[in-house]
């Protein structure tokens, strides 16, 4: 079922009439006339009927995605110039019938009936019908026709129907339905021009004619058993207009399904597809990510060379450019994930993946489709949380979103690398074991928490599976591109701005209040000047670098972040951390990988060491001591830090995305709280176990 597109489909009906509202406010505005106001056309249709493809063909890039007010159900709104008229198209979530109680389908039905508060019903409805499955698709068309609104039926996938030798008598269907029926093939663009003409004609009517003379014999008889009667009607209409006997239903889908839904070969195929999928978002995405990183580093260096005032330089380079780069670096993963997911869904495979995985995942209180976000979370939790939209049930989606960030994302790798290097500098095997253990811990905790949530805050378990297995089809690249573009836009616009604000706040915390450079650094600078005079340029540079590291160290220790670190030290002492590690935890609250560079500054190695010279950083950390001379990074502290970073929710970008996807502040806050508590408790236990050992 194409819920993914379904959810990616649609926006606020309040947004549909912005111009009209503005007209209303202007005092000299003309009185509202039918020809002046914007004509709105709602698109409805079964999932997989090609509704999104048609919407894209009519509007292209001029579409906006937004939630229905107060919900997480999306719709898309686009403007299209048809003839000489500008009309507004609303792509409603895909649905099978108007009586559904699923939230997104219910919203679509309510929007169609004009039952949503403050949002009038659309002027007309465009019903997208899959010509290869007329009996089922006419069910919804019949229900829509009974709403007595102007209706155009777009008979989509005519090319597929022809290939299957299904012949449909369009004029007969027109007579049966009592409304305009336009045969089209949205993917190839065939028939779109005629559809545009029909829309223009309808929009130009002084009085909109509804499909009033439509009779399905359902109006009275259907009251008792609506489904049975209506399906009898769709069957009789189909029999009249279609030569089903001659139809050659393709065997391809059945043959493929024998293999792809099989308990053994199906699971093997699933694992292969997911492996390829993971390869794309983990390894292929690395190339553009490194390019973006490099690009922003270059811009940063250039800006630093142009702006010499220290504070402004640091704000621009670390705060603004670093912040923007930190957002855009997620884009390759988001784009690749959504592109691949759109293709997977369009081919029809995603429904099979959900089918194959359903039984296993259900035991954990998660639906089969949860596999996609949970796997993606191993690359990055942000696209993972966004991709949880493939799961249609809100409870299941929430459970998946809550546990996905426990999976080891790629931002954890530098931390795992640092800790394994501290623990086992000489033994790559042991280091590899720790790495594997860290990944396994993430998975075990994520699945365990899903199991616990099912029994506590999210009772009821996963809903029984009901999923349409659509025929396998070649995916549409245009749809995939537009969908990817849409997701990327939402991320940059909605998550990006907040992430930038947070990174600026954290920059302020670690740069203010200002403190004078330490005496040792001042002396070193003076010495360096003397060396320079005597011609010892190398020694002068070395001294200056050391002085710079000392200054940065003292500035950070005296900053708000340093002060907070000292304040919270008693709280984290039971985990084996000191106030310097606390600075690392605070500064990496928005992005966990930051702890590596923060520790480099805190321990006076300089930020560059975290990037270029890891061994010097690790050496310094290994030899770092507390005030009483005991080493800071003992095995117990390292293990505790590792466990803390496996479990803690140190990624505000994820929290911002969770806020958007759950449309609440409660859930991201709960997530931060439960993950941090979990991290605290587990790190405490691990620290004390290793202290004894």
């Amino acid at each position: 079922m194409s819920n993914y597109h379904k959810n990616g489909d649609a926006s606020t009906l309040a947004e549909i009439f912005p111009r009209k509202n503005r007209f209303g406010k202007i005092s000299i505005a003309p009185p509202p006339q039918l020809s002046k106001r914007e004509f709105t056309l709602a698109l409805v249709g079964n999932p997989n009927a090609g509704k999104t493809t048609l919407f894209n063909a009519l509007t292209g890039l001029r579409a906006k995605t937004a939630n229905f007010p107060g919900t997480t159900v999306e719709r898309r709104i686009g403007r299209a110039t048809i003839g000489r008229r500008e009309i507004v198209l609303v792509d409603l979530p895909g649905l099978y019938g108007l009586e559904s109680s699923a939230p997104d389908e219910k919203l679509a039905a309510d929007a169609l009936r004009g039952r949503l508060a403050g949002q009038p019903a659309p002027d007309a409805v465009l019903v997208v019908v899959d010509a290869t499955n007329l009996e089922r698709n006419l069910f919804l068309a019949g229900e829509v026709l009974e709403l007595k609104r102007p209706v155009i039926v777009a008979l989509n996938m005519m090319d597929m129907a022809e290939r299957e030798n299904i012949r449909i008598d369009v004029s007969k269907l027109r007579a049966e339905l009592g409304c305009v029926v336009v045969p089209i093939a949205a993917r190839t663009g065939k028939g779109i021009d005629e559809l545009r003409r029909e829309i223009e004609r309808l929009a130009g009517c002084a009085v909109l004619e509804s499909a009033a003379h439509f009779k399905s014999d359902c109006v009275t008889a259907c009251a008792t058993c609506p489904y049975q009667k209506r399906y009898e009607w769709t069957e009789s209409v189909s029999a009249k207009v279609m030569n089903a006997a001659a139809a050659r239903r393709p065997q391809r889908t059945e043959k493929l399904d024998k293999f792809l839904t099989h308990p053994v070969t199906g699971v093997a195929a699933f694992l292969a597809v997911m492996l390829a999928f993971f390869f794309l978002i983990f390894w292929v995405a690395k190339i553009p990510m490194e390019l973006i990183d490099h690009l922003f580093a270059t811009i940063g260096t250039w800006v630093a060379s142009q702006v010499t005032q220290t504070d402004l330089q640091s704000l621009l380079v670390n705060g603004v450019i670093g912040g923007v780069g930190g957002i855009l670096v997620f884009l390759p993963q988001i784009c690749i994930l959504f592109f691949a997911l759109s293709l997977l869904e369009d081919t029809g495979y995603l429904a099979r993946a959900a089918f194959v995985m359903d039984k296993i995942m259900r035991k954990l209180g998660l639906p089969g489709k949860a596999f996609v976000p949970l796997l993606s979370a191993h690359a990055c939790a942000i696209p993972a949380v966004m991709s949880a939209r493939v799961i249609e049930n809100p409870r299941d989606r929430l459970a998946t979103i809550l546990v996905a960030p426990l999976m080891a994302c790629s931002a954890r790798i530098p931390i795992y690398a640092m800790i394994t290097a501290l623990l086992f500098p000489q033994s790559p095997l042991k280091a590899a074991l720790v790495f594997t253990g860290a990944y396994a811990t993430g998975i075990i905790f994520a699945l365990g928490m899903a199991w616990i949530f099912q029994r506590t805050i999210l009772p009821g378990g996963s809903k029984p599976l009901v999923i349409e297995l659509p025929p396998y089809r070649l995916p549409g690249l245009r749809t995939a591109f537009l969908h990817t573009f849409d997701r990327a836009k939402i991320f940059v616009k909605q998550a990006g701005t907040i992430i930038l604000l947070i990174s600026l706040l954290l920059w302020t915390l670690s740069h203010y209040p200002k403190s004078a450079p330490p005496a040792a650094a001042t002396t070193m600078m003076a010495q360096a000047a003397q060396f320079e005079k005597s011609g010892a340029q190398n020694q002068a540079d070395e001294l200056r670098a050391t002085a710079g590291h000392l200054t940065a160290q003292s500035a950070l220790q005296n900053s708000f972040a340093g002060k907070i670190g000292r304040v919270i030290e008693p709280a984290i002492k039971p985990l084996g951390f000191d106030w310097q590690i606390a600075i690392g935890i605070i500064s990496s609250f928005a992005a966990r990988e930051v702890i590596v560079s923060t520790l480099a500054v805190v321990y006076g190695v300089g930020e560059d060491a975290a990037e270029q010279n890891r061994t010097s950083l690790y050496d310094t950390l290994r030899h770092a001591t507390r005030s009483d001379g005991a080493p800071v990074f003992t095995t117990a502290t390292c293990m505790s830090l590792l466990v803390y970073y496996i479990l803690a929710a140190q990624c505000l970008a994820t929290s911002v995305v969770v806020r958007r996807e759950t449309n609440s502040l409660k859930w991201p806050l709960f997530q931060i709280l439960y993950m941090t508590s979990l991290a605290f408790i587990a790190a405490f236990i691990v620290y004390h176990i290793f202290k004894i050992v």
Binding site: G97, N133, R136, Y231, A247, D257, A351, P464, V466, E468
Partner: protein, 93 residues
């Protein structure tokens, strides 16, 4: 046309229906979101259906579409097996 007046009455549950056997839905126990979805997908009283793949979850065929559903849900659907010559689905696939 889907009534099986002349067919031998053989009632069974959807999760017990052998593959490739055509049957007519007689009643569906309880209601709820999933049952409503099943009905709007075409799995409602009076429809002919056929199991394509049994097990849990199983695949059924209704009209031209294939629907995957949990066995727990299938257990709520009661069917009457059609006489061989009464099935229209047989022709389609």
């Amino acid at each position: 046309m889907t009534t099986a007046a002349s067919a031998i009455i053989r009632e069974t549950r959807l999760d017990k229906l052998p593959p490739r056997t055509c049957a007519v839905v007689r009643r569906i126990e309880t209601d709820g979101e999933e049952v409503r979805r099943l009905k709007s997908l075409g799995l409602c009283v009076g429809r002919q259906i056929k199991v394509v793949k049994s097990g849990d979850p199983l695949i059924v065929k209704i009209f031209g579409s294939r629907i995957g559903l949990s066995a727990s849900l299938a257990a709520r659907v009661w069917l009457e097996i059609c006489a061989p010559n009464h099935c229209t689905l047989q022709k389609i696939s």
